[in-house]
């Protein structure tokens, strides 16, 4: 009784733990299979939720083999208890043995352990494990939901597959056909899976291999497929009895087709092809024209994005360098590769840094490059050409442009050049001279730069610094306090003396009270475009001055160079270059002018008549009104019918070129021609399609019409013209 009691607890645990284990395994495998299934569906859109069940069963079996719940038995539990509870003194095993088999000592121990066993707590481990596995299941559940809501990849694939799935249309299938299937095997480069449909309308990638399998319910002698109304294909019966037929065809041309069973033609079925587009290249960086100024790193970072509908095979940069000038320009071509594998990805972003120096580019050279890409079907595409040029500082320093031709402001340009040269000299000498004198010289250069800027500012009619405050007395004081404005001071003093001299001069007095901003006369010297450029020059000069005066002499150089370059551009713009030539023009003899003999000059005359290649538009236009009159009547008139018959060839061409748009109308047209009752809507559909074929109507000049010219009107007109007056006077 007692030992039964003790064993009972162990046995009940055994049952309980087995159930726990089973639940735990179910939870685990459910969690795992949900997650795995969601991933599979996400990666391979062909998988569906049935796969989850399969995965679940598999995982469950595997888990059971690893952790078999049926192997949880009483001895195992007793071993576990012994390990877990030292107070049981490794003796729980005794409890499981029948009492009569035990020795006396064992019996004693059994009784002791039995008491202890009833005292110990129920081990929590199995319950904990169950809890954990349920948590795992919940996580798996959540993850699978999350994945199924995850769009990007899933969307792309969805879109792809839906693109190729013809929307389900109701088709009229000949009654002799018992069943049929259509296998579509897209070309390998698309990487699309083979698919099967039970619909005659096809939407597939260009070059797909189509396989029709048709089973008829009665023996048929001939079964043909007619493509685009001209290409006939006879099918071979597979079984020889005329019940099973199949046909293989690779399609390269869109259009429509019909099934002909013993001369009976079916409805028209659409054959739509999706062409493979070449890779689209989008360069986000740099801009089409890039100029690298002095001081800027001679590097070019290129960023682009490639897109293709099936896969990109390769892409590279084709760069051409132009170096030298004048007649000595030489070109070097180079192919730069991207350091990234392509492995047929559909869309990728690439970036590359091109080191211009390592390409061998010197200042003054130019680089032209474009990006070439190849898709996995072998179609190549290329981007626009981009230009990069490095400014040649030596060229800027040369006086070539200034020595010949008109020169508006030569000394000023030279000054900017001088400042650059001085700056470079100062930088060279920097180690040799003291900090103090370096700073002084740098500051002096800054002042020079400022002077130059002010002089250019004058061209723009800007108020010069010397004039600011000069016109106003109170500002005048402040001007004095500005220590660094040396020249300003000098000017003020001069002006003061002048003012005293010109005592009584009304204009001078007025000047001192008026605040002058722009000097209108100066401002009219240049065109707005030129002014804008001058302003840009001034901005560069400002920056240069700032750097020089804060003793960052080296930093000033790029600004100085840029200012010089802009000045040069400006200079070139205001001049038209005409090279000297040595052509000698013969003296005109005035008396001989217009006295040439013209008798040898022929009078050419051409005659031509325009023969329109086809009367398509005129015919279609007349067909439109023939269809319109059909709306009122139930049948066509004979001439209308013959007119509409003539439109057939155009309809066929349109339908085979663009089946998605014109095929439904062509079907409607066929129906109309057979004389069956068509609704007004159907006729309008055909009319709309013909309207599309005619295209946009354009205005045509034409003879204006006037009401009939009766004698009365003419008499009135003549009477008015003669000035006889309305009352006949």
């Amino acid at each position: 009784m007692v030992e039964q009691e003790a064993g009972k607890r162990i046995y009940s645990w055994k049952r309980q733990w087995r159930i726990f284990r089973l639940l735990q395994l179910i939870a685990l495998s459910l969690g795992f299979s949900l997650f795995a299934g969601a991933m599979l569906i996400y990666l391979f859109p062909l998988a569906d939720w049935k796969t989850v069940v399969v995965i679940f069963l598999m995982v469950f079996v595997i888990f059971n083999l690893i952790y078999p719940f049926w192997k949880i038995d009483a001895p195992g539990i007793s071993r576990y208890l012994d390990r877990k509870f030292p107070e049981l003194e490794e003796s729980t095993g005794i409890l499981l043995r029948p009492v009569n088999e035990l020795s006396l000592l064992e019996r004693l121990q059994q009784q002791k352990v039995e008491v202890l066993l009833n005292q110990i707590q129920t081990p929590a481990a199995p319950l904990k494990k169950l809890g954990l596995s349920i948590l795992f299941m919940i996580i798996g559940f959540g993850l699978s939901f999350f994945i199924s809501y995850l769009k990007p990849l899933g969307y792309a694939i969805e879109a792809h597959s839906s693109k190729y799935r013809t929307n389900i249309v109701k088709e009229r299938i000949p009654p002799q056909i018992a069943s049929f299937s259509l296998n579509i095997n897209p070309p390998s480069y698309t990487g699309l899976p083979e698919r099967k449909q039970e619909q005659f309308s096809v939407k597939a990638a260009t070059g797909s291999l189509l396989k029709w399998e048709i089973r008829t319910n009665e023996p048929v002698k001939t079964l043909k497929l007619i493509f685009n109304d001209r290409e006939m294909a006879s099918l071979h019966s597979k079984d020889g009895k005329g019940l099973e037929w199949s046909f293989l065809k690779t399609i390269h041309q869109p259009g429509f087709y019909q099934v002909e069973l013993d001369g009976k033609k079916s409805d028209l079925y659409q054959l739509e092809l999706i062409p493979d587009l070449p890779v689209s290249i989008r360069i986000t960086q740099p801009k089409p024209h890039t100029t690298i100024d002095f001081g800027q790193p001679q590097r070019l970072s290129l960023m682009l994005h490639l897109n293709d509908d099936y896969g990109i095979k390769d892409a590279s940069i084709s760069a051409t360098m132009a170096s030298g000038k004048g007649e000595g320009v030489s070109f070097t071509e180079k192919k730069l590769l991207f350091d990234k594998g392509f492995n047929n990805s559909k869309s990728m972003s690439l970036s590359k840094t091109i080191d211009l120096k390592s390409l061998g580019m010197k200042p003054g050279d130019e680089l032209y490059f474009f990006v070439k890409a190849l898709d996995n079907h072998g179609q190549a595409s290329r981007s626009d050409v981009y230009f990069v040029s490095i400014v040649d500082t030596a060229e800027l320093m040369s006086m070539a442009g200034m020595t010949n031709g008109i020169n508006l402001v030569p000394e000023y340009f030279r000054s900017q050049r001088q400042i650059i040269m001085d700056t470079e000299k100062l930088l060279d000498e920097q180690p040799k001279i003291t900090e103090e004198s370096f700073k002084n010289r740098s500051n002096a250069l800054g002042i020079d730069q400022r002077l130059l800027r002010l002089r250019y500012g004058k061209f723009l009619g800007e108020e010069t610094e010397t004039e600011i405050g000069a016109d106003h007395d109170h500002d005048h004081e402040e001007g004095h306090e500005e220590g660094h404005a040396h020249e300003g001071e000098a000017h003020h003093e001069e002006k003061e003396t002048k003012q005293t001299e010109k005592f009584g001069d009304v204009k001078a007095i007025m000047d001192s009270y008026s605040h002058k901003h722009d000097i209108a006369e100066d401002a009219t010297f240049f065109e707005p475009e030129l002014k804008a450029q001058l302003k840009a020059v001034l901005t560069e000069m400002w920056s240069s001055e700032l750097q020089l005066r804060t003793y960052k002499t080296r930093n000033a150089l790029p600004f100085e160079y840029k200012a010089l370059r802009l000045l040069k551009d400006l200079q070139q713009k205001s001049r038209a270059y005409v090279a000297k030539t040595t052509v000698k023009v013969a003296q005109l003899k005035e008396e001989k002018r217009f006295s040439g003999e013209l008798d040898k000059i022929g009078q050419p005359s051409q005659k031509n008549t325009f023969e329109p290649l086809d009367k398509k538009t005129a015919l279609l236009k007349r067909a439109l009104s023939a269809l319109e009159s059909r709306k009122m009547a139930t049948v066509f008139k004979t001439e209308e019918l013959s007119l509409l018959r003539e439109t057939e060839k155009y309809m066929v061409v349109a339908a085979s070129d663009n089946p998605a748009v014109f095929l439904p109308a062509f079907k409607g047209w066929r129906k109309l021609m057979t004389g069956s009752n068509s609704s007004e809507k159907e006729i309008e559909k055909v009319q709309a399609a013909i309207g599309k074929m005619i295209g946009q109507e354009q205005a045509v000049p034409q003879l204006p019409s006037a009401p009939p010219a009766s004698n009365l009107y003419r008499k009135y007109f003549n009477a008015l013209k003669k000035g006889e007056g309305a009352n006949g006077l």
Binding site: Q603, R622, V700, P701, L703, P704, P707, P708
Partner: protein
Amino acid sequence: MDFKYLVIGLCLILGGFLLFKEWRRANKARRALRLLASSIAVICFALFIFPVTYQVERPERPHELNFLSTGAIKDTVKNLKGRLLTTDAGLFQSLKMPKLGLIADLPYFLKSEPEINHLNIYGYGLTTDELSALQGYQLNFHPSARPKGLISASWNPRLKSSETLSVQGIYNQEGDLPVKILLQGLGESLDSLTINAKGENTFSLKGRPKQTGRAVYHLIALQGKDTLAKEPVPVAVQPALPLKILLLAAHPDFEYKFLKNWLFEKQYPVIFRSRISKDKYSTDFLNTENINVNRINSTLLNKIDLLVIDEGELEALSAAELASIRTAVDSGLGLLLRITGVKATTAISRGFDRYESPELKNKTLTVQLPEQERLFGPLPFEQALFLRTATTDQPVLTEKTGKVLVSSRIHGMGKVTATVVPTTYNWLLNGQKEDYADFWSALLNRTARKAAATELWNIDPVIPVFRQRINITVDQDAAEKVPLIISNGLRLSPLQNIALPFQWQVSTWATKPGWNELNLNGKTAFFYVYREQDWKEQRNIAKLKATAAFVKGQKSTINPLETNILMKKQVSIWWFFFPFLLAVTFLWYETKML
């Protein structure tokens, strides 16, 4: 009469018999009551058959008539005194008023009742034809509210190929929901417009019909998904007539070359002559026969419809040639001048005053048809030369800001147009074929010689309805000849207008809805007869206006005299039924209970 006395006799016999039986009854109790009850029952029974009538006097208006036309509203007419009549069977059924009478024809009815001299008209009123029969009557018009929906529309029903169909009209918007108006035809929508504001909104829709021949377009008013109205817009399109054009160039240029080729591909007869040297020319005869064009004379000019010439070439022409051009333009030739210089160099071109404006420096030229929103594509050059229009000039094309680029004027029977746009082929090079076509069509159509038609016909009403009378007016240039008019296979005999000898008029009936054939001197034309439900609101509005105008134009009204008339009235038979019932009940109850 006889029946009446017979009944009275029978009732007397019955009464006598009953009274006799009562008298002889064994039970003598309540004999008097029973006798009374029996006689009451018999008297009441007799009065069932012949109810009591009496006469009363009432004021009436015997000379007045209330006439309800289409659109009359029950609330306004239900309390009307006097006679109520209508000719509209639909209205008669929908109003369900016992007083309302239905007549077939109002003038006929009035003839049969000559005492009526006053009419009150309710609803939308009457048509002009009906109103003309009411001359001399006193009329009062109580119009209903203006109808809603498409209350007016007009369009150009006879077009030449590529001409624009323009439908304009008024929509009377009622609800708050916006209404979309669509011009639809041949399975396509040509134009649409949304109306939001309440009240009467004008609309204008445009489109180029694509067909050659006849087609019925539709004007559709949509509110959400509900179709409020769908009215037919029948349009007949005829092929365009080609122009015969002579181009004279001082020197060949791209503008001439493109214009020439463009016209050539349209299969228009074009002669192009460009000067090589003094009296030496290069000539192209396109789609036409060779003729001598070295000298410009009136024989040559009479053969063509339009002369395009630049100022340089005009200067180089001899005085005799210029004179012949002048005469030809006077008698109808179109002259298109291409002007490039600011100074006029010839007498003919002097009429067009020009000026230079630097406003378009560094800008492209954008051309526009005046009073149209559509802008042409920009032309890539700086236009500095513009035309100053005189009072006799009409601007044909302007620059975006309104400066005139092409202007036209009448010269005798012909027209002279001057253009300062130096090149337009840029449009063709840019693929903007439509702009090029619109530009040159506007210029050439405006300028070219007008071809006088041999006959012109019009029909009245513009929207003829099935079974309506239609008047056809024909103008023809052949004098002394009766036009041959055959409508639907029936030869009609026209009447000559007394004042205008070239005008002939004829009346016929719209016997067939849809397209009707009209054969005019052997030429076939078509007109459309509408069904009765088409353009109903438009007709109602017309009636409303016509009736209001007719009533307003009448002399002052005299109030109709009220006269008293005697009327028979009947006493309700219920008054006799209850005494009868009481009497009979008493007789029965007395035998059973008492």
